[in-house]
Symmetry: C2
Subunit: 113 residues, 2 copies
DNA sequence: TAGTTTACCTAGACATTCTAGGTATGTCAA
DNA sequence: TTGACATACCTAGAATGTCTAGGTAAACTA
């Protein structure tokens, strides 16, 4: 049966990583920026998602020193992750399309008055 | 802080009821039909949602006999429910717009090749 | 040097949806 | 007429996804 809900955190993270390698903190900041602060993903949400994606082979992690001297843990999307992203994007399109279809179908009862 | 996810069952149910009064089973069937079977809401999801909406004063229930002689429990959306629907629709638009914005922003890394 | 930001992490709580069951009536085919 | 299927309502408990609320530590900044 079709999935009824979207694992939206996973979709968004994969989508960002498809653009460029990022580290956790950066993902949170970028997500807020690109969504005009609609998404303010919590660390308690993000890190488990990243670790899950890593376990699933969708991303790979590597350490890299920041200009500041601190170590950062960057994530790189794999081919497997790109496939996963494609199917999740498709799920999202189908899901959001269906919601919009239902909303449109009820407009008659709303404010045609 | 803004809600990070949509209570999609509630939004969809309210949206249907904004069009016309419906009974539970009908909501499930209509939802499947109007979403081209993307949504196949389970009874275990629907009934708790309906009861919650009733407790919240967003819908009112009444019994009515079907042509078959069976009793059906119809739900009617209240003014309060219509307000709720408006805010949830707005949440949905903002949420789906944000997802699309993030997806678009990463296209560069995807398949421009 | 104290506070804020950066940067990583986890356990447990909470919310939403599903699974899997229950009850009962109506319809239709074998 | 009986057995299967659709209709129609319901709930308890499991599973899933996200958040709260903590911990650790380095770097910047006032």
């Amino acid at each position: 049966m079709k999935k009824q809900s979207i694992d939206h955190a996973q979709l968004l993270v994969l989508s960002l990583l498809a653009g460029e390698d990022m580290y956790g903190y950066q993902i949170i900041v970028e997500l807020a920026r690109r969504s005009d602060h609609t998404f303010e993903m919590k660390e308690g949400t993000l890190y488990p998602v990243l670790h899950g994606l890593e376990r699933a082979g969708a991303v790979e992690a590597y350490q890299q020193e920041a200009p500041t001297g601190r170590m950062r843990k960057y994530y790189h999307i794999t081919r497997k992750g790109t496939e996963l992203l494609k199917t999740e994007e498709e799920s999202w399109r189908s899901y959001s399309g269906a919601v919009n279809a239902v909303l449109r179908s009820s407009i008659g009862g709303l404010t045609l008055a």
